[in-house]
């Protein structure tokens, strides 16, 4: 009988200790909850100025796509070899309408591509390899109520890329659709892992910009004061000068874009393949 009583006491004390430990662990994890630290100003209705706060810059970048409907731009991507100081340049051309639901992107150089998205399909051609595919647009690239303001406050701390941006064939769409970067900066700022500063004003392709410094990555961003589009970015990292620069060389907002721009016509002699073949990796053979 005494043994049974000892077991019962042991279970009681052990369970209580377990619950106390759980509560302690839970309160530690709750302290990392950042939802209460996210105060995002409303989307600015007036252009940013040198007196704007960092939070206002982030608010504009977060919902930047609300500031334009169509856009025609050319950007230059420059990458510097830190050993030889040689600079590699690639031009990237963008025609976007209906906020990018209709899109055409062309790039030059050895990785030259043509990308066209319209009402129902996306088409993608690697020009130098003369291959292309054309498929129905996957649902994940549809707008479908995309609401970055809601996502940054209720999205569990993840970054949600712009559905019209993340389909584009460039690793630099984030600067035309800066919502993802803004979400990252807002979330990391709330966690105390950002050091953002406004360094001043500047002009890029005739447009006023605010220069935002993202210190912990050593990035500089020139943000269009009216649209939030990033017109120039420099990745400095640990170097003395920029290693990568992505810079607008022309940009026009809300101009009429001829519908024929969004019709895909493959280059002469280009061969149609499947998207799987197009993005084939070495693992597909295993």
């Amino acid at each position: 009988m005494k043994k049974f009583s000892d077991i019962l006491k042991g279970i009681t004390v052990g369970s209580l200790a377990g619950l106390i430990a759980l509560i302690a662990i839970h309160s530690v994890s709750a302290s990392s909850d950042i939802s209460g630290k996210l105060a995002i100003p409303a989307l600015p209705s007036k252009p940013l100025t040198i007196n704007s706060s960092v939070d206002e810059v982030l608010a504009l970048m977060l919902e930047s796509d609300q500031k334009w409907n169509s856009l025609i731009a050319a950007y230059q991507l420059s990458t510097r070899d830190l050993v030889t100081n040689e600079i590699n340049v690639q031009n990237q051309y963008f025609w976007l309408d209906k906020k990018g639901e209709w899109a055409r992107v062309e790039t030059d150089g050895p990785d030259s591509v043509l990308f066209v998205r319209n009402a129902a399909t996306i088409a993608y051609e690697k020009r130098n390899q003369k291959v292309y595919f054309q498929v129905q647009t996957p649902s994940t690239f549809k707008y479908d109520g995309f609401n970055p303001r809601d996502l940054v406050t209720n999205g569990g701390g993840a970054v949600y890329l712009h559905p019209y941006g993340k389909v584009l064939p460039t690793g630099y769409y984030d600067f035309i659709y800066p919502t993802g970067i803004a979400q990252s900066m807002i979330l990391n700022q709330a966690k105390g892992k950002e050091n953002l500063q406004i360094l001043g004003e500047d002009e890029v392709v005739g447009r006023k910009t605010i220069i935002l410094s993202r210190m912990y990555r050593n990035h500089l961003l020139w943000v269009d004061v009216e649209t939030g589009v990033v017109l120039r970015v420099q990745y400095v990292g640990e170097a003395d000068t920029w290693q990568v620069q992505f810079e607008a060389i022309s940009i026009e907002y809300d101009v009429r874009v001829d519908g024929s721009i969004f019709q895909f016509a493959p280059s002469k002699g280009a061969k149609k393949i499947t998207s799987t073949e197009f993005f084939k990796t070495s693992l597909d053979n295993q």
Binding site: K3, D6, I7, K9, G10, I11, T12, V13, G14, S15, A17, G18, A21, L22, I25, S29, S32, L77, T79, D81, N88, G109, D111, Q136, P138, S139, T140, F141, D144, G145, N154, G156, G157, A158, V159, Y160, L161, P163, K166, V167, T170, G171, Y172, Y173, D174, G180, I181, S184, K193, R217, G237, E238, Q243, S275, T276, F279, T281, S282, L283, D284
Partner: protein, 191 residues
């Protein structure tokens, strides 16, 4: 204090902790693997992966887990992140990649190709890791029945428009969340 009391107490303590801890395990620290494209091998690895949890999801979310089934091959260092579970019916597999905190040499942009058994929703998206250090990034959703053969995300270390410069390629957790909704499930992401 006798042995019976101590033993039953310790067992109860462990049972309570292990039964209830998975619900909050997402807050634990993640780990990463560093892959050097020149060597095409793992160069370091530390720690273990956080455990799977299904707590706190809407009832329409059948299961959730972090994939730890990863393979790689040289010399291109393609990584394949496989779905582990298969289902009798199709689900929308919401997919997140974790990009760890890292400083120093610039990271690059890489294509992530997400595949599932229903190819109509397969997609490829470029992610510029330089912009998303220390973030969980939602890349989108595929549709299908899952399983390690027909459901995965591939990425390689071919840096987009790198101009021939050497780039690091960081790899961390990836999560697939099968769900009936096209909207990502509400969940708090942690490291």
């Amino acid at each position: 204090m006798n042995r019976t009391f101590l033993l039953s107490g310790i067992i109860s303590f462990v049972v309570v902790l292990t039964a209830m801890l998975p619900g909050i395990s997402y807050a634990t620290t993640g780990t990463y693997n560093y892959v050097n494209e020149k060597d095409s091998t793992y160069t370091s690895r530390s720690g273990s992966y956080t455990s799977v949890t299904t707590t706190g999801y809407p009832s329409s979310s059948k299961h959730a887990y972090q994939s730890t089934e990863r393979t790689f091959t040289g010399p291109n260092n393609t990584m394949r992140w496989k779905c582990k579970t298969s289902y009798a019916t199709e689900y929308n597999f919401h997919t997140y990649i974790a990009i760890p905190y890292n400083l120093g040499v610039l990271d690059g942009g890489y294509n992530y190709t997400a595949v599932n058994t229903n190819p109509s929703e397969n997609f490829t998206t470029p992610i510029n890791q330089e912009n998303y250090t220390n973030d969980w990034v939602y890349i989108g959703w595929t549709k299908g029945k899952g399983g390690s053969t027909g459901c995965y995300v591939d990425t390689d270390n071919k840096e987009l428009y790198g101009g021939g410069l050497d780039r690091e390629f960081w790899v961390d957790h990836m999560k697939y969340w099968p769900n009936t909704s096209p909207t990502p499930p509400a969940y708090t992401h942690g490291w």
